[in-house]
Symmetry: C2
Subunit: 421 residues, 2 copies
């Protein structure tokens, strides 16, 4: 645990403190959504829209409804029906409101799910490495062991997963869940292909490993066809879907959700038990998700006919342009280096990765910040063992488009210095 814990601290420290120390820096560090895309009518139009809906639901006037809204509320949530419709329209998920727990951001959903699924000390969660820092932190906070899936080049993901499950079992551990972001993963930007999705579901179904499918970036698709989510492909009750409105509406909402399958590995009773356990655990931490925030999210969804598709398409134009500028700038600046520096071309999401011909850890990131006014995150911050020292994560979502070239320029001067050493 200690190396993982320290890596969580490192990321947090880097994002909060290092970034604050270099306010003039061009930051490729933060994967925040772009503020320019935020709606400015949440209060002026979203809230009244929801209050109207809520008053009709209660059969009261608006004043009564708004006072009820300001109260405590059902732990499972207030806008589950609206979320179910949105997930149906935007993600083709066949979901009933009763399958949903509305959470205080997706992070709470992650934390509740692993706690509910891993009650014993020998229960573990499987993750890819590198992985999203939120699962690492949640596991650390709940003292739940994570196990990285070893993915040798050329081996299919489901095979690597199968091997990880078998190896863990041989050591007396019980893999209860797999945490994964199949679409435009943070930090790698990668996509799990359709056949791998099917194979993953089969493997997890066989071993009764619950898949925690985190999907913050799925709607930000820049090329090709969106693949169906694991939840949509799942016919065996393997997948718990984790949703968030932080990227599609805004982070200050702190509204996310967990969606349990209709039957968990074929058992309706087990699914109900999991849902009840999530709700109970949530009541011990946050009581219920702020009804104000649920009303803002719900109202905006009602204004948009329960679909974020129109917004996501607009936002994708913005983010895709940043990605394209980034890729062009990288090509232009590093063209003389042949294949010493390589990068991927993410089909969506907020992140791109650059592989370097030298190691790039915390001290190098600090050097970039201090001497070149550009912030990047070492990929080793996100791995379970501090490996991947030759790679950086380049976030392009929360960046003024005109700063992309400048940032790449600055980074290239740092690369130049490294070559000269």
């Amino acid at each position: 645990m200690s190396s993982k814990a320290s890596s969580v601290l490192e990321v947090m420290n880097f994002l909060n403190e290092v970034a604050a120390d270099y306010p003039r820096a061009v930051s490729f560090a933060s994967g925040r959504p772009a503020e320019t895309l935020f709606r400015d009518d949440l209060w002026t139009r979203g809230l009244p829209k929801f209050l109207e809906h809520y008053a009709a639901r209660l059969g009261t006037d608006i004043d009564f409804a708004s006072r009820q809204l300001a109260q405590y509320g059902r732990t499972a949530g207030l806008v589950n029906d609206i979320i179910a419709t949105q997930l149906n329209r935007d993600e083709s998920l066949n979901v009933e409101p009763g399958q949903i727990v509305v959470t205080t951001g997706c992070q709470e959903a992650i934390s509740l799910c692993i706690q509910a699924l891993c009650p014993s000390a020998s229960d573990i969660v499987l993750v890819r490495s590198p992985t999203y820092i939120g699962i690492t932190g949640a596991a650390h906070g709940s003292r739940i062991q994570l196990e990285a899936i070893d993915e040798p080049v050329g081996v299919a993901f489901s095979q690597a997963l199968e091997a990880a499950i078998v190896a863990a079992k041989a050591r007396g551990l019980h893999p209860r869940a797999l945490y994964i972001t199949p679409d435009f993963d943070n930090p790698t930007g990668s996509v799990l292909e359709l056949e791998e999705r099917r194979a993953l579901l089969s493997t997890c179904g066989q071993h009764h490993v619950v898949v925690l499918e985190d999907n913050p970036y799925g709607m930000f698709c820049y090329e090709g066809i969106r693949l169906p989510t694991l939840f949509a492909l799942d016919s065996d009750g393997v997948v718990v879907y984790l949703g968030t409105y932080s990227k599609t509406i805004c982070p200050a909402l702190r509204v996310g959700c967990a969606v349990v399958p209709k039957s968990l590995f074929g058992s309706i009773a087990d699914s109900k038990r999991l849902l009840d356990d999530l709700i109970r655990r949530k009541s011990f931490v946050t009581v219920n998700t702020s009804q104000f925030n649920q009303a803002l999210a719900g109202g905006l969804l009602l204004l948009e006919d329960c679909s974020l598709d129109r917004f996501a398409k607009e936002a994708s134009v913005y983010y895709r342009r940043n990605r394209d500028r980034l890729i062009s700038a990288l090509g232009r600046v590093f063209s003389g280096l042949g294949d010493q520096l390589t990068w991927n071309r993410p089909r969506g999401g907020f992140f791109l990765t650059v592989a370097l011909p030298f190691s790039f850890g915390r001290e190098h990131a600090m050097e970039c910040a201090q001497d070149f006014d550009v912030l990047l995150m070492p990929m080793s911050f996100f791995t379970m063992d501090g490996s991947r020292l030759d790679t950086v994560r380049v976030a392009f979502s929360n960046l003024d488009p005109k700063d992309v070239e400048l940032g790449v320029e600055r980074f290239s001067r740092y690369v130049q210095r490294r070559f000269e050493r």
Copy 2:
């Protein structure tokens, strides 16, 4: 743990499901604040007020500030300075903004504190019995052991506490925290007197037991002089103060806080370590408290010159009237029974307790609901061992004043039936 866990479930089930099954019932079950007291200008005046303040703080225009507000934010909080001022003005707490973590309701603060203070399996939290169900739930959710303090009649609280600490240590356990609501306790309505407060601080200081002082009701004082909080009396760095705006503004805000002492048992470094640990743990569960909600709370406080005193005085008129009507009705209806039925006269808060000459458990509460359309909570729901079967908790906060007499009337008919059995 199992009996405690089941009692948490019982309370939740009773509040959520039983209450929903009897919508026409007069409910003395819920300790929610009265909706009629909620402000209706949080959005129209509070939010603009905070945005103005925030823009000035950032040195930007309102539009920029409102987009920043919609982002993720500092895990420790956005309105710590405003909260510090309010705690200073309303509670005479000498607090710096840097001592505060803003939490998603006080429940999150409770949960984070016990996790941070009890990392080992032998670390326990001491509680009174009966106690607030939120600490029982939080401990259950985090698999932390609670130990009830045995309080024999006639023994001073600090002596009972000392005995509990010594007994726990003799069993190889480490009491790390005491959870207590000194002012108008939920569920008993009782107040810890000044001398007992001082003695408690001395005992806890001696044994290095952190006091978690929960103070949701302190501002609702109906007679006599408010006593200083434990935090205000503490000169040895013993107390972590837990605050909430759920009762003074409204629950849907989900804004509370934990305030660590300047030095923990004399160590500034230990205090800083505790604060950092709370912040880190919070980031793993809710990332940061919704900046929208912090803005609503902060804006309202700014409108009120950082004091809730005016509001609390108004609200206290309302709640005191309910208490007085309740006490008169109890006196009128049960006057023929001599001292077979007795009740306390809480000096503040939301709860009163009635001692009965017969047992009153879940099945009796159900009978009251079903046959007499009145909801009351058995005190045994709140005890660690299911004892106090002869007492009920009567919440009078969220009740239409005109329903008080009707509810007592209905309950008296139930009591009549019990006597006839």
